[in-house]
């Protein structure tokens, strides 16, 4: 009130009040705490961790998934505290690449990694991470690959509708050097980057002795061990804020490979109504609780094509935050279909979370296809031709019929397998 009094005693107009205020450098709004020295930073103090940025939609802190195209589809990146579930393709060729790009992004940004697998040793997984493309080279490599993709025929087609040629194939926002990098799938990450990084590995056959007698309990012992391991790392390294001596906050990136496969001790891939069919769903529930209370993000790859009970897939989807399905064309009839000849498979974005929000960040592009070029993994919009001839419509109707068969959960026993009775 003293400040107002000094302003008021001077003159009545606001102009002179402002003049006196600027002269005496005192306003009625006093900032609590020390004032920043610079002219910027007048806002609240943000947590600034390398490799993260706040989302422009809902303010969540985001990390990059390692593929800038995927980041764009997910609304800028993966939110910290959430789970990204990748439904593996049938022969498990492309999902390990997404998994490794996520981990490589963590190494490049200096995040701590936790790699869990029942299939291969985490040290071997880290040796096979793709090499990052540095900023000055990345634009060149990317453009070179895009140029190779364009054939002369496409230039002729665009003679009349030449304005469409100027549209980019997939709008990818500017990639700054601090968020989102491109990776070269044909090269390995340099050894010194791996050694400089902080990582923890969980290899299931080492942690569990094979002659252990399995008691019937709600969670498979493999899952219990993994949850305890994750919890220990989070607590000891202070990702949940419990360790106050931590000088600089960092993000923990967790990668779990092939979750739900029989090698984890879970029988949802083997039997329809197994003895512990709730084990995986309980694991995901507890994992999500651990993630929400710590600065961590998790990627999980799961062989959902092997899961026999379709209702479990629906529950797993609900318990994860972001779910992406990969469908490769290898071995299917689409491999020889000329419509899909430029691509290696389809990407289905099955779920995007609503975090502190009423709507989710859905992109308007629904039919997406991916392609593993010589170096890069790209995601593009799939353009299907218009429904003109008989053959085109027949194949698309077949695809629709197949997809409805897959997605229908059915009820109880009818959910098993792909065939269901048509009444």
């Amino acid at each position: 009130m003293a400040a107002v009094a000094t302003c008021g005693s001077g003159a009545g107009t606001t102009g002179s009040a402002v003049a006196t205020a600027s002269k005496s450098n005192v306003t009625s709004f006093q900032r609590r705490g020390p004032r920043a020295s610079g002219t910027n930073d007048s806002g609240p103090r943000l947590v600034s961790i390398a490799g993260t940025r706040p989302s422009v939609r809902n303010g969540q802190l985001l990390v990059s998934t390692g593929l800038p195209a995927l980041d764009q589809l997910l609304g800028g990146g993966l939110a910290i505290g959430t789970v990204l579930l990748i439904e593996e393709d049938k022969y498990n060729i492309y999902s390990p690449l997404l998994f490794k790009c996520f981990l490589a992004e963590g190494i490049v940004n200096g995040h701590t990694l936790l790699v869990a697998s029942a299939t291969e040793d985490p040290a071997n997984i880290l040796q096979e991470l793709p090499a990052p493309l540095l900023d000055d080279n990345s634009k060149k490599e990317f453009d070179e690959d895009v140029y190779n993709h364009k054939t002369p025929e496409s230039n002729i087609k665009m003679k009349i509708a030449w304005r469409y040629q100027l549209l980019p194939k997939m709008e990818i926002g500017p990639v700054s050097s601090r968020f989102g990098h491109y990776y070269d799938a044909s090269k390995r990450i340099p050894q010194e980057l791996i050694e400089a990084s902080n990582w923890h590995g969980f290899f299931l056959p080492e942690k569990i002795s094979s002659t252990l007698k399995v008691e019937p309990c709600s969670l498979t012992p493999g899952y219990i061990k993994l949850l305890q391991f994750i919890q220990n790392i989070i607590y000891e390294e202070g990702f949940d804020g419990s360790n106050p001596q931590k000088k600089q906050r960092n993000v923990l990136r967790i990668g779990i490979q092939n979750l739900g496969s029989p090698l984890w001790g879970d029988d949802i891939c083997c039997a329809e109504n197994g003895s512990n069919s709730h084990s995986l769903t309980k694991f995901l529930y507890v994992l999500r609780g651990l993630l929400r209370t710590s600065l961590s993000a998790c990627i999980i790859t799961m062989p959902t094509h092997l899961i026999q009970n379709k209702t479990i897939i629906a529950r797993v989807t609900n318990l994860s935050d972001t779910v992406i399905g990969l469908e490769s064309f290898i071995g299917s009839e689409r491999e020889t279909n000329p419509l899909y000849k430029d691509y290696h498979g389809l990407i289905h974005i099955r779920q995007i979370p609503r975090l502190n929000n009423l709507i989710c960040d859905e992109s308007d592009v629904k039919d997406l296809a991916f392609k593993l070029k010589r170096k890069l993994f790209t995601i593009e919009r799939l353009h299907l031709p218009p429904d003109l001839s008989d053959t085109v419509s027949r194949s698309s109707k077949q695809d629709l019929a197949e997809s409805t068969k897959r997605l229908g959960p059915g009820c109880g026993m009818m959910a098993g397998g792909k065939k269901h009775l048509d009444f």
Binding site: T119, E120, N124, K159, S210, S261, C269, C270, L306
Partner: protein, 316 residues
């Protein structure tokens, strides 16, 4: 019908996939059915690896030892190490030669061997093991066995392990079969037509696309493998051979094709929205006929001469 040696050598590389099944290592799944049985192929592969000098262990669970050894000559029989689980699967006789831990214990004991060199383990059969053991335990054991050569840090380099598993497809649902086939490095599905057996071989290498091939073969009485050409050429599975592709442009009353001259004319045509320098000049140059153009207009009875008063009710 056997081919001549020359012809066989020429296409030997292509037919070599069945021969080289064992050299890839890992789990080889032999899926058979009632019509096309797989035990003879299993015995043929066992004989081949025994002749190559590898150690061969057999876990016999489904048939008796005498029946399995039948048809092999004595030197091969001496090389086979047979673990018999058929006669006394639950170990009721409690003899000292019974192996502890059942079949899985025997598998682990084979893996803990100290001498290097390639090993082939034949499981006769995986179906029996699936029916007696939980699927997850079996999968974990098979994975540990087939990936043992990949573990670093051991003192002695352990040779490659191949596990041949015979699986009767019809006994199991899609779950266990799918789980085992996702673990397997090679999957051989037996089939055939008209008395000729074929093997559809699907090879999954870890980071590469799976390759598949269909191989026609027959097993000779001494259990050696005879590779053959199939009865017909492999047809494309997804195109219908009875309906030839129809070219819709053949019997039309109008012409859809462009001759060379027409194509050139089309390519050199400047489209209306392409802005070229000639067009710019043409627009900027004043047209010669423009000054003399007139507009002739005859007003109609209904024409409105006063544009601002549409209803004609202003009385000015």
């Amino acid at each position: 019908v056997t081919l001549s040696e020359g012809a066989r050598a020429g296409i030997g590389r292509e037919l070599g996939m069945l021969d080289s099944l064992l050299s890839l290592g890992g789990l080889v799944l032999l899926r058979d059915s009632v019509e096309w049985e797989g035990r003879s192929l299993l015995k043929a592969l066992v004989k081949k690896s025994a002749l190559c000098g590898e150690q061969v262990h057999i876990l016999g669970c489904e048939v008796s030892e005498e029946e399995f050894r039948e048809g092999f000559d004595s030197d091969i029989n001496n090389r086979l190490v047979y673990h018999d689980f058929f006669r006394d699967p639950l170990n009721w006789s409690k003899t000292e030669e019974a192996l502890p831990g059942g079949p899985l214990g025997a598998l682990r004991a084979i893996c803990k061997r100290t001498d290097p060199g390639p090993v082939t383990i034949a499981l006769d059969s995986l179906s029996w093991l699936l029916l007696h053991l939980p699927c997850t335990t079996l999968c974990q054991a098979l994975h540990a066995v087939s990936h043992q050569d990949a573990c670093p840090g051991d003192s002695s380099p352990v040779g490659k392990v191949s596990v041949l598993g015979l699986l009767h497809e019809e006994l199991h649902g899609p779950g266990p079969v799918g789980a085992l086939s996702s673990l397997a490095q090679t999957e051989v599905t037996l089939g055939g037509t008209k008395g000729q057996a074929s093997a559809h071989i699907l090879c999954r290498r870890p980071r590469q696309r799976p390759t598949d091939q269909t191989q026609w073969f027959s097993i000779l009485p001494d259990f050696s493998l005879d590779l053959q050409e199939g009865p017909s050429v492999e047809s494309q599975p997804y195109s219908d051979p009875h309906i030839p592709p129809v070219d819709p442009t053949t019997h039309l009353t109008f012409n859809l094709h462009l001759s060379k001259k027409e194509r050139e004319a089309k390519d050199s045509l400047i489209l209306p929205f392409q802005f070229s320098s000639e067009k710019q000049q043409a627009l900027l140059r004043p047209r010669p006929g423009q000054a003399t153009s007139h507009i002739f207009y005859e007003p109609d009875a209904y024409d409105d001469l006063d544009q601002e008063d549409p209803d004609d009710d202003l009385d000015i």
